[in-house]
């Protein structure tokens, strides 16, 4: 059934292309992890000759787990079953829940650590003075812990994505522990490592993580079962309508009603609203790179960051442009809305977001004038070049977006896919900058990029005309695609 919904969904072509890329990445990571797994023991022995490699690894287990939870939260897509059709079929509730949970156990992310754990464990059996049984106990424990992370991630996503605030205490405690660790007050990873060492000495203790897995599984099961009603999702929703009017948009004349519309769209629906929070959050991205001297020499990388920070809303929102309106696209198409106006208003909205984000990045001037300049140029490039590109790409969108769903849980949203699509948007200007900067100079590179941006702006009316034409041509396919509710 799942296969069918995949092959029959509107964007098979795009999905397959991306799937291939994903499989390639998966293979790449598998091989990388395998090599790491095999090489880990000799490497550690060489680097720290007087320490036991196993104990060293044990000390980093906790750190790895936190990291793993983090990337799983961002990347792993949970198996989602559309429960509505199953509800009135004679399928036991528990069976369906079990299916979903067990399916998640086979996720690629669960196999990845195995590539390290098993070769490393085997190495330890042969090289170190531990017994075979002890290491089998260790390996079992590690595998069980991986599954723990899997189910923990599952429960976090299911239970808390609707209510991210409930997670704050958990995040705070993790941060607190990390801080304690950092300032060497209380080294939790050290104690966790000690526990793992103890486990190696007493292999029967591997039962503890296994019990933990079962407990988490049960928790998930109960949680999912309680949500297995149609109205579970409906209950809280009927909140009072927010009747803000965004009257100030009136200034924009013919485009005003559309802009107003889009603002309401963003403001009142979970999915697009999250893109705003994401944009603000990711403004901090620069903090990771600017303070470090490593990148100072390679300014092209700053272009990448600049495009990313000023354009994050553009990427997240623009990429799905017509899909946002999917649920009422036939109305948009048959109402008195010229295609060009519709698109222009989207372009305008996105351009504003770029300008606002660009203004918000100005404090980075603290790290140097060049950064401010690069960010401004990146913003210009985003408005001039990337906006039309994204809108053009949008015409190939045939996938419906359910506005109400939170982005983390559903396939249509953030996930590896989305980032892959946006790479060219950021890499191309980076390459242009790098080439110009390398062969001519910093100023010329800046002028080059801004030139492209201004050129894009000057050509905007013509480009919009052209893109509107493409949208008109693809209209029927889009309407048809948006009708498919499936994934």
């Amino acid at each position: 059934m799942e296969w069918k919904s995949f092959f029959r969904s509107a964007s098979v072509g795009k999905s397959i292309g991306l799937k291939v890329l994903l499989i390639f990445l998966a293979l790449y990571f598998s091989v990388a992890f395998l090599i790491l797994g095999i090489g880990l023991y000799p490497l550690l022995q060489k680097a720290f000759p007087n320490q036991d490699p196993l104990q060293l690894v044990n000390r980093f287990v906790l750190l790895w787990l936190v990291f793993e939870l983090g990337y799983r939260f961002m990347l792993q897509t949970l198996p989602v079953l559309d429960i509505k059709p199953l509800l009135n079929l004679p399928i036991a509730r528990r069976k369906a829940v079990n299916f979903v949970l067990i399916k998640s156990m086979y996720s690629f992310f669960n196999f990845l650590p195995l590539f390290i754990i098993i070769p490393f464990g085997i190495f330890c059996i042969y090289k170190a003075e531990y017994g075979t049984l002890n290491l089998i106990g260790w390996m079992t424990a590690m595998i069980a812990i991986t599954q723990c992370v899997n189910f923990l991630n599952f429960i976090i996503k299911k239970k808390f994505t609707d209510n991210l605030k409930a997670l704050i205490p958990a995040i705070l405690s993790v941060v607190a522990l990390a801080a304690l660790e950092y300032f060497e007050v209380f080294e939790i990873s050290f104690w966790f490592g000690k526990m793992m060492d103890f486990l190696v000495l007493n292999p029967y203790l591997a039962i503890v993580p296994i019990i933990l897995v079962i407990a988490l599984y049960k928790w998930n099961q109960l949680n999912l079962e309680s949500k297995f009603y149609l109205d579970a999702g409906l209950k809280e929703k009927q909140q009072d309508a927010d009747t803000r009017d965004f009257v100030w948009t009136k200034k924009f004349g013919a485009l005003a009603p559309f802009l107003q519309q889009d603002l309401k769209l963003i403001w009142r629906n979970k999915r697009p609203k999250t893109t705003i929070y994401m944009s603000l959050l990711l403004l901090g991205y620069g903090m990771f790179f600017y303070p470090s001297d490593n990148y100072q020499a390679f300014e092209a990388f700053y272009v990448f960051i600049g495009i990313f920070m000023t354009g994050i809303f553009m990427i997240n929102f623009g990429q799905f442009v017509p899909s946002w309106d999917a649920s009422y696209y036939p109305m948009i198409m048959s109402q008195n809305i010229p295609m060009k106006d519709y698109l222009s208003s989207k372009a305008m909205l996105i351009s504003f977001s770029v300008i606002i984000l660009a203004i918000l990045t100005t404090p980075y001037i603290y790290f140097g004038w060049n950064i401010l300049l690069i960010n401004m140029v990146a913003a210009l490039y985003n408005i001039g070049v990337n906006v039309p590109i994204l809108l053009y790409a949008g015409s190939f969108n045939k996938k419906r977006i359910d506005l109400d769903k939170s982005p983390f849980m559903n396939y249509q949203g953030t996930g590896a896919m989305q980032w892959l699509v946006s790479i060219p948007l950021m890499v191309v200007p980076m390459l242009i900058f790098w080439l110009l900067n390398f062969f001519i100079g910093f100023e010329v590179a800046l002028i080059g990029l801004s030139g492209l941006g201004i050129l894009g702006l000057l050509l905007r009316p013509n480009l919009m005309e052209y893109i509107a034409g493409v949208y008109r041509k693809r209209k029927y396919a889009m309407i048809n695609g948006f009708k498919q509710t499936g994934e």
Partner: protein
């Protein structure tokens, strides 16, 4: 004035609509009846250029709908919920449609005042989003929105379905008033023979995409239609035997 010539639509080898020639003069109230899959919604979707005709063309006041967007300003429609914007309140939706059709807020408020009866106090001022309304109430909003801004052509797909009896009667009154001055062409499809015969002056029966009957409504029309559809049942039953 709506003209369809040589119009057909083929889905995967099956002809779902095949109309040689159909003229709907301006100001007519036109009813389309037929069983499920007869091609009613397909015809309306073609008329609104939501799907592409396999052959032929539809002209709406001399404008080829698949080639120009010029018909949009004077054509209004409500086909299904995909014509509603779920995250707006009904008022906002009306204002939005109004703005698209060149009517300002005050115009819309005046306009809506006429429909107080029809809404039965369940639509306006309830501070609810459209997506939270019941199906019937959503339909009411869609139908009324299709009447905003004096369109010359109004297209309603199954307007009576999902409505309660009181509202059905009110809707019939509204449609009759609309066509009274003979300036607005109204196109309606329905499964309910009684309702269509009451509001439409002309009724076309579609069967498997082919127009099989074209009737000018009179006293006898209802019984004629009823005997046609029950006759069809008789034929298929005979075939099965």
């Amino acid at each position: 004035m709506i003209t369809a010539t040589n119009l057909s639509k083929i889905y995967g080898g099956t002809k779902v609509l095949n109309i040689d020639h159909l003229d709907i003069p301006a100001g007519q109230s036109f009813g389309l009846v037929g069983n499920n899959g007869a091609g009613k919604t397909t015809f309306f979707s073609l008329l609104l250029d939501l799907i592409q005709p396999t052959t032929g063309n539809i002209f709406n006041h001399e404008i080829t709908v698949s080639q120009s967007e010029e018909w949009k300003p004077f054509t209004a429609s409500f086909i299904d919920e995909s014509f509603l914007i779920g995250y707006l309140t009904p008022e906002e939706y009306f204002y939005f449609v109004g703005e698209l059709r060149g009517a300002n807020k005050a115009d819309i408020d005046d306009f809506l005042a006429n429909f107080e009866d029809f809404f039965h106090g369940e639509i306006i001022g309830r501070r609810k989003y459209l997506r939270d309304l019941s199906k019937g109430n959503q339909k009411k909003v869609g139908i009324v929105a299709a009447l905003i801004g004096n369109p010359k052509v109004v297209i309603l797909d199954e307007p009576f379905a999902n409505l309660d009896p009181t509202t059905q009667i009110r809707l019939k009154k509204i449609i009759k008033e609309l066509t009274e001055n003979r300036e607005t062409t109204v196109l309606i499809s329905s499964h309910d023979l009684i309702h269509v015969t009451e509001v439409c002056e002309r009724i076309v029966v579609l069967d498997k995409g082919e127009p099989v009957k074209d009737i000018k409504t009179s006293e006898a029309t209802l019984s004629e239609l009823e005997s046609y559809f029950s006759g069809e049942v008789g034929v298929t039953q005979a075939e099965e035997l």
